[in-house]
Every structure is written in structure tokens, then in C-alpha cells.
């Protein structure tokens, strides 16, 4: 890892990190980027494993979508995160793509990022000046731009330990049933008390603003409620209100605003069910 960050820091030209390569190679092939250096981090041991720790999970940067899906404990604790990562591309892409790569592309439509934000995930960054850990929401700063500095690599993603009666879910809207980029994405993570009252919630939306956004107002709409119709309506309204979308080839602004609320509501219902809510 040290060698990799050193290589990246020393390279004077255009340097890129290769994990799964499912986006990098497309950009390479279409002449969109012309790198002077590509660093493949897949053979660095620290990037290859999923570790279960007392305070949660540590997911190496080069762990693929397919590997996440095959990890029973992770899938049980964070089904929404895993299902979001599994929505990135086809089976072919799943064998290669990584959540870290998805995050570092800094696309507002990245599928795994809303789920990671809703999960309060953090990333461990290694660079020439050592290690630092920051929340996921601080990584993307603009479309295609991250807060990472020259020579820095995300080594792993940290997911917190789940309190009892917690559940998360991610839903996205695409015109087909597979193979599309999200037109809207919504992730919801909730924790309930024994009476089914929501005690904690985080809500994040994708493809409705220049970056994936955390929506605290939407979370507030759920906390302290039994996530009944009124709370869900308030959640949907808060999500729609938080959207700052554009019209593009994938959908209209109007459509995104409306569907963000619909998906957040549906995701919240799934998350609640997963948390054991009735």
C-alpha cells in the first residue's frame, strides 16, 4: 500500500487507481482519459478482505460486488448496502466492480453511495502523510470530483456495528430492469425500539443533486414516529424538497423530484420491515 501511494504521489503525469476497472477502462477505451500511470491495487492484501470486527465491518477497497453478496454476516447486518452494491451493472460487472470505485467516481448516480451514507459508513484513506478516516459523505465534492489528495488511496470502508432492531434498504429507479444508471436512488436506514418507534434514521438520495446527498430533514420525519402513513408522507415530502436535479437524457427534473419521494417511502417501508417493524 505504501508503495502504491508512493507511486501515485511521485507520478508527474496523470495517474489512476485501478480496482475493478469497470469505469476506468471505459474511460480509457473511449479516449476520455490518457493515463501515464495506472496502479492496480487488487493484489494488495489489505484491499482484498471483509473483516468482521467488534465495532462493525471493514471492507477492503478491492472487494467486489459479488464478494459482498457472498458474505453472509455482512448481508444480514447491512442488506441495503449489499443490495445497492449488487445493483451496479450486470453479473459480469459484479465480478469486478467495487464500492470504493463507485464512491471515487463521485457520480451523483452511484448506487452504493446513498446506501453507504445512510449506513453512516466511513472510509480509511492512506496517503503519503499517513492514514485518516472520514465519513463517506465527505468524499464526493462535485460530479466526478472527490476530496482525495494527490497520492491518496481509499484503503477500506468501515460500516458500524448494528444495534438490534435495525434495517436498511436501497431502491433505485431505472427505465429497464437492469443495466441502467439510476435516474433516482433512495437509501434509508432505521433503528426501532421495542415498541416499534423509530429511534434513529438516516436517509440519502442519489441522482437528484450534483452529489449524492444526505437528507437530515427526511430522517427527522421518521425519528420519533412509528413510521406510519403521516410520517412516510412527511419523509417523501422532505425528500422531494431536498432534490436539486437537472433535466438530462435519463430523466426530467420533475420526474426525479416526484420519484425521489416515492422511492424513499418504499425504501423506508422495507427498512422498517427488516428492522422487525410490523
Amino acid at each position: 500500500m505504501k508503495e502504491a501511494t508512493g507511486l501515485l504521489a511521485r507520478e508527474k503525469g496523470r495517474a489512476f487507481v485501478l480496482a475493478g476497472g469497470t469505469d476506468l477502462l471505459v474511460r480509457l477505451r473511449t479516449g476520455f482519459i490518457e493515463p501515464d500511470l495506472i496502479v492496480d491495487i487488487k493484489r494488495i492484501t489489505a484491499t482484498r478482505s471483509i473483516d468482521v470486527r467488534s465495532n462493525g465491518f471493514r471492507i477492503g477497497a478491492a472487494v467486489t460486488g459479488a464478494e459482498l453478496n457472498e458474505h453472509a454476516k455482512l448481508t444480514k447486518a447491512w442488506p441495503g448496502v449489499v443490495e445497492a452494491a449488487n445493483l451496479i451493472g450486470s453479473k459480469q460487472v459484479q465480478g469486478r466492480c467495487t464500492m470504493t470505485g463507485n464512491l471515487c467516481n463521485a457520480s451523483p448516480a452511484a448506487d452504493s453511495v446513498p446506501a453507504l451514507m445512510a449506513a453512516a459508513a466511513k472510509v480509511v484513506i492512506v496517503g503519503p502523510k499517513g492514514k485518516r478516516t472520514i465519513p463517506v459523505e465527505q468524499v464526493p465534492v462535485a460530479p466526478g470530483k472527490t476530496s482525495l489528495k494527490k497520492g491518496e488511496i481509499i484503503e477500506s470502508i468501515l460500516l458500524p456495528k448494528r444495534p438490534p432492531r435495525s434495517g436498511d434498504a436501497y431502491l433505485r429507479f431505472i427505465p429497464r430492469t437492469e443495466m441502467d444508471i439510476a435516474v433516482v436512488g433512495a437509501a434509508v436506514s432505521v433503528t426501532l425500539d421495542a415498541k416499534g418507534m423509530c429511534t434513529d434514521a438516516r436517509v440519502a438520495l442519489g441522482a437528484v443533486a450534483p452529489t449524492v446527498v444526505l437528507v437530515p430533514e427526511a430522517a427527522k420525519a421518521l425519528i420519533g414516529t412509528k413510521m406510519d402513513k403521516a410520517a412516510l408522507d412527511a419523509l417523501a415530502a422532505a425528500c422531494s424538497a431536498a432534490c436539486r436535479p437537472i433535466d438530462d437524457k435519463r430523466g426530467t427534473s420533475e420526474f426525479r423530484i416526484k420519484v425521489a419521494g416515492v422511492l424513499a417511502r418504499r425504501a423506508a417501508q422495507i427498512a422498517r420491515k427488516r428492522a422487525g417493524g410490523k
Binding site: T30, F173, P175, R176, T177, E178, M179, I181, G251, V259
Partner: protein
Amino acid sequence: MPLDSTLQGKRDFKVVGTRPLRPDGIDKVTGRAKFGADATAPGMLVGRILRSPHAHARIKKIDTSKAEKLPGVKAIVTREDLPDHTDGDALLYDVLYNIMAREKALYEGHAVAAVAAVDTRTAREALKLIKVDYEVLPHVTDVDEAMKPGAPILHSTIFTDGLEPKPKKPSNVVRRYEFGHGDVEAGFKKADIIVERTFKTEATHQGYIEPHACLANVGPDGQGELWVCTQGHFMVRDTCARLLGMDISKLRVTASEIGGGFGGKTTVFIEPVALALSRKANRPVKVVMSREEVFKASGPTASTSIDVKIGVTKDGRITAADATLRYQGGAFAGSPVEFGAMSAFACYDLENARTIGYDVVTNRPKQAAYRAPGAPMAAFAVESVIEELARKVGMEPIDFRMKNAAREGTRSSYGPTYGPIGLLATLEKAKQHPHFKAPLSPNQGRGMACGFWFNFGGQTCVSLNVNSDGTVALSVGTPDIGGSRASMCLMAAEELGIPYDKVRAIVADTSALGYNDVTDGSRTTFATGMATILAARDAIKKLTARAAQIWGISAEAVTWEKGYAKPAGSNAGNFPPMSIAEIAAQAGATGGPIAGHHEYSADGAGVSFATHICDAEVDPETGATKIVRYTVLQDAGKAVHPSYVEGQFQGGAVQGIGWALNEEYIYGKDGRLQNAGFLDYRIPVCSDLPMIDTVILEIPNPGHPYGVRGVGETSIVPPLAAIANAVSAAAGVRLTSLPMSPPRILAALDRKAAAE
């Protein structure tokens, strides 16, 4: 080819109608089959094409001097290297202009220069070093915008044809067409109910998975070879030879296996450029389009804007039908609006019908044929109005269609009177089909539609050689896109009375056979099939003559039965039947090789009809649509290999589903295509679809010995309308624009809610 009544009548088949394995199957499941990009040659160079980034621009200067100096660059070709040899042939000049821009670049992606270099990287670098001085001009990509006065004009030479008096100002409207009969105004006066609506459809691409690819090899003596994926290698040869000023005899073209075409490979794009590069470099040059180039610089189909007005009496009889169709076909004349206008009302028996079509040019790639060119959009508009009218008069749409359906003896809306046709039969079968009565779940709707396509024959040449062991080598000149070699083997085996696996069919190169038209117009199983049957009959004549010679009796005294020559009767002599193998073994001693041929212009293709039923489910909160059930009923005349007939039905229906729901060319304000890739040009994926149920009807075509009709194209005509009718029923609001993408459906639902 006159319609010969002796051709007809065979309905008692031994092998035709069975489902044997295809002869090219093993190669295709093992990866051995060689497609366009799979060929190599010693010393091969990589060819790349520089394309215009502008939708409309005057090309003031092209400076290739820097690129020429780059090590590894072996040839550069611009408009200067492709002088005009078209000799006043306007259609061919358009092809020349399309393959390499001349004074102007007319669309984003228009070729402006090409490079041949030792490797991909060098070729790519060289393209960057070519400096093109553009004067950017205003552009137009929408069909209705292009027709407005004051729209940017593409060609100063186009003065709308078909208008009286002839216009004095140039226009983007190339031509006005009118078809029909009767008096529509009088017809509308008799109507109790009239529905009039305007529809729009976006341009779609054939979406074949194999990008255009070719390997050209021309020497200084002007002799050349070309390996290419195409629907018609004879067309490629003749077109390229004429564009490059070569003798046709000097260019030999071999058709590779072809990875889909659907009409999109019925013309040339990269082939003349590859030949020009090879000629200049004196080395083999391979050119393969990227997927982005396929979208931007091959031939998608037209986008359209259509008005339809139909009147009916209270008891559901159509009194008049009128339509105006506006199709843009890209930067050159030739949108398929004439076929849209001819086919629009072809399913109905109409006293008064009129269609007016406008062929319009815009700053988009030159359209190419796409499966029943022009017909699906017209059917979308007409069948949507038909469904609405049926509901308004209180009839089941199927009964309304049956009441007004065209039948034998109906004067078609495009002119001629129909012979035996299968439209009513498909409607009757549809009504009996379990799908028709199946219950629907909430948010689901059912729609149906009928469709028509002409089909045609074309120039065809087949050679059938009897080998010394009695097996048969069949050479055809129509590339096999979807299993046609299997069908040819079936028909040859049927006629000769030998097993299917004793016949091997190949697609011969252009030096081995006479001219063959392109594999298009649903013509191959019909026309090449009929030529195969007639070539087999020719061979049988020769085989029986040889048997007669061996037996020392007259040729008339020998008949052919189940693969054997037999004396015609007891007075002809008492000889045991002689097999094809026995006769073939003695060919050398009885006069030489035995071969059957047939060369002709096939006509009498016989029109075809289909009825489709579709169930769609619409999510009222998101506008997402799912096709939950789909049934195709179509007349095939005679299904030679039923599996591949079903495959044509299913494939056409699914292309229609894509067109109806998600596929579209999306242009930005800058006139550039925004979705030139399979990520955002969304063709249906496996998980989008249900099984596609098929029903094959067999109403024999009197123009073919076995009754075969073309089947490839008709299947894409009804889906747009069938799906629109289903979605409109599910959503409770009429959708009039394609694709019916989720934002469009949701917006329509919102408008409906606001109105209620």
C-alpha cells in the same frame, strides 16, 4: 418471373416444416464462426475515421500534413481521394457524400477523413493531428422544425418535388407523396364519430450487436478483395466499385458471418473508405466501427410526426381515413415515408382513404432501412386511433377490426386489390387465443394491433452442385442472418427427396455466383428459397436424363421420386430405381458434372399480416412499465423451419417493445447525440421481458411453390401500437408519443389527475 401455376400446390412435405439443427450451428456455439471483425491479413493496417463534431458545418480546409509525418501512418484519405464518379446518379452521389463529407459536414459523426496506420494507437494519434477548419452553421434535428419556413437549409439543391407549382425556394422537404382512393371529405360527412390525433415517434437504431467491420485489400493493379459483414455483398461490390471508379470484375467481396442487420447493413459506410485506404497504402486495411460510431454514423430509422383522422358510423363502419406523415430520414433524401404512407391503412377495407407523406432532411445521420421501413410508426398512429374509435362506438376493438378488415378482393389503401391474405385469420385466431380472455391484475391493461408489410423478391441466383457421392453443395448469394442456410437445405432436400443433412448450403462470394440482391425485404426464404427449388428441379432434369442415358431409354421415360430415378412406367423398361449417389458416381462417364441453376428476378412475394396482443402493467407512482404477456399471430404462408419463423416473430416483437418503451435518439441543443452507447440507448434486456408466445398461420402464397411468404419484417409493425394501446389502457390516458418512457407516462398521469 411469371407466376407459374405449375409451381403451386405442394402441401405434402417430408422435411420442410421440420426443425433440424442449422448447418452453421456448431461454429456459432463454439466461437469459431468468423464475423466481420474476426478476419486478419498479413501486413494488415488499422483504419480509423475522423468524424465531424458539428451537426452542420462548412469544411473550409483539411490539413493532413502533420498526421502524414507521424511514423507508422501509411495512408490518409479525404474527400480529395474520393472524386465523384457517380455520373449524375443522385442516389449514388448521396452515398458518396455520406461516406465522406464533401463541402459540408451534415451531421455529428459525418466522416471527414480516414487514416491507415500500423496500429490502433498510431491511427488514433494521427486522427488528432488532422486539422479541419470548420465554419459552423445553424442546424436542425427535429422533423417539424425542419419543415418550418426559416429553418436552416441543408441542401440548396432540394426543391420540394410533388408540389404544384414547383417551389422556387430550396427547402428541407424533399418530396411530397400522396396515396389513396375515393373522396375522404365526402366520407367524413357520412361519419357519426371522428377521431383526429397527432403522434410523434423518436428515431431508433436497428441495434445489431456486431458493429460494421471490413477488411479491404487492394493492389496497385486495381484488383481488390473485401471481407465484410453485410446483408448484401453484391450490393457492396457494385456500390464500392462505382464509387471508387473500379471495374466490378476486379473487386471480389466475401460476406462474413453477420451479427445482425435488420436493414442497417443494406448500404455501405466504411467499406469504400477502407478500400480507398488500402489502395493508397497498398496494404490490407481493417476498419471496425466503435459502438459510438455505429450510433452516430450508420443508419438509424426516421423520427416522425403523424396526423391521423378516421371517421366511423355508429355501427362501427369506417367511412373515411386520412393521414399526413412527416418523416425525417437524416441528412439526405430517402426517409421511408412512402412506405409509411402506403402501409398506414393497408389493414382496412376503405371506401375513402388518403395518405400524404413528406420526406424531410435534418442534421442527423442518413437513415438506413430498419425492418419494414416506415411501417411501424404509421401503424402506431393508425392503430391507436382505431382502438380509440372502437371504444367510442362501444365495440370490442377486435370486433371493430374484423368488421373493417381488408380481405381477398379488397382494394388496398396503396392501390392494388388483395389476393388471398391472412389478416382476418390472424384476428380470428387472436380472438380464440387464451391470452385474449385471460384476466388482468390491477394497473394492467391489454392492447392489440394489426400490421402489414409488402415483402418483395428481387434478383437472385442459386447454384446447386451434385457431388460424386450424391450429396449436394448449394451456393446462394444472400447472407444468412437468421438461419436461412437451414431453410435452403430443407427446400433442396425436399425437392430432391434426399435427407436434410446431405445438403450443405454456403453463402458464395461475388466471384462465384451471378448478382444477388441484398438479404432484405423479407425476401431470402421466399426468393432464394424459390431459386433453390427451381435449381433442384433443374438438377433433377439432368439426373433423370443421365439415368435415361445409362439405361438406354428416352429421358421422358424417367421420373424422379424420393431421391431416385425410376422408369416412368412398365413399358419404359424394367430397371431398378437408381439413387442420386449412383447417378452422381457415373457423372464423369455420362457427360460431366451435374449441376442445377436458377437465375431470375423473383416477384410475387405476397403481402403479410400480423396481429399482436400485449398486456402491460404501469406503476402509477413512477410511470414504470412492464410487459407482462405478449402474443404474436402472423401468416407465414408456409413455415419452412418453424423455429426460425418463431424466432423472427419474437425478435420483431421485442425490437418493437424497445422502440415503444425506451429506445430513442436523444439530441442536445448543440445537435449532438447524447446517448451513443448501449448504456443510455436502452435496448431490451432479458429481464425486461416475458416469453413471447407465437402462433404461425399458413395461408399459402400463390407466388411460391411451397406457399412461402416473407416473415422477417411484419413482426415489428404492430408492437408499437399494441403496446401503446396496452399502456394507455393501464394508465387510463392515451399516450401519443414514443418512446413511452417513465417520465412521459408519469407526466401524462399527472395531466390526467389535474384534469379530473
